[in-house]
Symmetry: C2
Amino acid sequence: MTRRLMGVGRRFLELKVFGRWGSRSQRSVHHCSALVYREHTHNISNVRMEQLPLPVLRDNGVRVKMLAAPVNPADINMIQGTYAILCALPAVGGNEGVGEVLEVGDGVETVRPGDWVVPVDAGFGTWRTEAVCEEDDLITVPKDISLLGAATIAVNPCTAYRMLQDFHTLTPGSTVIQNGANSAVGQSVIQIARAMGIRTINIIRDRPNCGELVKELRDLGADYVITEDEVMSSGLQSIFQEVPKPKLGLNCVGGVSGGLLLSNLDYGGTLVTYGGMAKKPLQIPAKSLIFRNVSLRGFWMTQWKRDHRRDKAALRSMLDSLCDLVRSGRLSPPNCLQTPFPQYTLALEAAPQPHQRKHVLVM
Amino acid sequence: MTRRLMGVGRRFLELKVFGRWGSRSQRSVHHCSALVYREHTHNISNVRMEQLPLPVLRDNGVRVKMLAAPVNPADINMIQGTYAILCALPAVGGNEGVGEVLEVGDGVETVRPGDWVVPVDAGFGTWRTEAVCEEDDLITVPKDISLLGAATIAVNPCTAYRMLQDFHTLTPGSTVIQNGANSAVGQSVIQIARAMGIRTINIIRDRPNCGELVKELRDLGADYVITEDEVMSSGLQSIFQEVPKPKLGLNCVGGVSGGLLLSNLDYGGTLVTYGGMAKKPLQIPAKSLIFRNVSLRGFWMTQWKRDHRRDKAALRSMLDSLCDLVRSGRLSPPNCLQTPFPQYTLALEAAPQPHQRKHVLVM
């Protein structure tokens, strides 16, 4: 179930890491520090900071100083070799982040020195101080949002945005139900839905500090926050006296929790799965599909970006909308820890642990 | 999960059974024999033949002599009270069948005496010698196909046809995979797909007379017939060296068998569920939805007919296509037993038993 990064992604990594872009006889004039893994491993200490030469800048090339890059679960899975796409080895870790353009080739038109940019595809290798890549591999983001906001805009908020846009025509007053509501995507869903006038029913797992979490999510704009146990014991009928049943369910857990979404969807609703944290399959009774006309779909941001690689307008429009929300304070980055790049070990070790705050490496 | 028949269906049944159409003071001039159930029951002997008065014919009315009507599993489930829609009680059983128009009201335009007609919706109560209904409740079928073909065209072949038309754009050379391939729908899928130039991979449960069944299905046009056990032990890789992986899977079993369809679908494929014979839920791993972009949908012919009630052109076009196939010998009715109407007990008692041939009541 894993695929090697192909096309641009793969070539691109090799080029950046090993400076093979252009003739081998050309000497690199720049170097960078990068977090490199040379084999797939569950031992995170095998990811080491290395000095890498950067390829020389060509006509369509861009040299970027990375500013900040988060450590996301998928980054760790790629290092472990367990993700659905893998980079050619050796590779630089990190798929998301924001950089500032330092220098561009003569043929470059869409970015200029000083611009903030984010990668348009997975596999960039964002855990590095500098990178040289092609113009098409980057897209600008505005500089008047926070560094953390820019560094974390391109995966989780985009996932939330697309799922709210692409599966049902939601209008103000519509309802969406989700589990894993305190995940990074879940928090984005709450905030983007709120800005769209859409009500959210948010299911969380029972936990000791449940009251705190409920308050946090309600402060973000969650209309209803309810634990799995409460849904199982009392159902959602009291909520459905106040708001319509949801046409859209967003599932990042699976198992029983996914079933709770499914059984509370409206007739003709869609359950979109974008994660499987419980590592248990969804159980789908035939009657839900046949008589309640419920559909099950999946969503993967990486695939969306690849499908829209030649249609940057769609990505542009999404990023503009999301950055507007960030600028106006309606979409906050997740509650991150900013970790200086040299202390990367701390960030990588924390990432696979449950209930840890997300680390953002600051270069 | 059950709903009462509403709107036309409900009123219609009451009218036909108890002659309440028109003024109560008007005396009915015709009667019929009908198989009536007065409560929901698993005891099929509670379904009894009764003499019912027919309502008088009004301007938009049609009087029909029923010719033949099958006993389908859903008919039994409706009597038991376990189906997703139920008729108001007391009710006449049977949802499918063909009749000949005897008489029409002055305002009727689309059917004429002598025409063969089938009901456009579930809940007609086809187990009867005569019925009076509205013009809109019927649609004509050609008289140059067999009585059995006409009596069984409107549910199973229509289900197969729609599933092959509505979920993926299939072109000659495409592949479809299905389980329950020897069901009435499954046999229609094989034949309609064959006529469309589409290859079918047909999964059946292992059984003593497996070789016979394989031959029967291959004679119908099945490209591949394989047991669940064979799929689990050897996979379908040898088949996928000859034909492309299927974009469409048709599931009427669920449980493990549904999983075999899912795991053999192509990237971006759709699994359509129209039955749940195993009475076990589908188990759907998150990665199938996320990384293989597989979708799950449901199909219910009754709902399709209701959704298209005001668009008879779609139903007309489908029936014409199917009747063309029947006429040219490319679509055979299932291997039915023709049972004289007075011997209905035989047919009703056989229907819930496994591995029984379908009975068609001949009036």
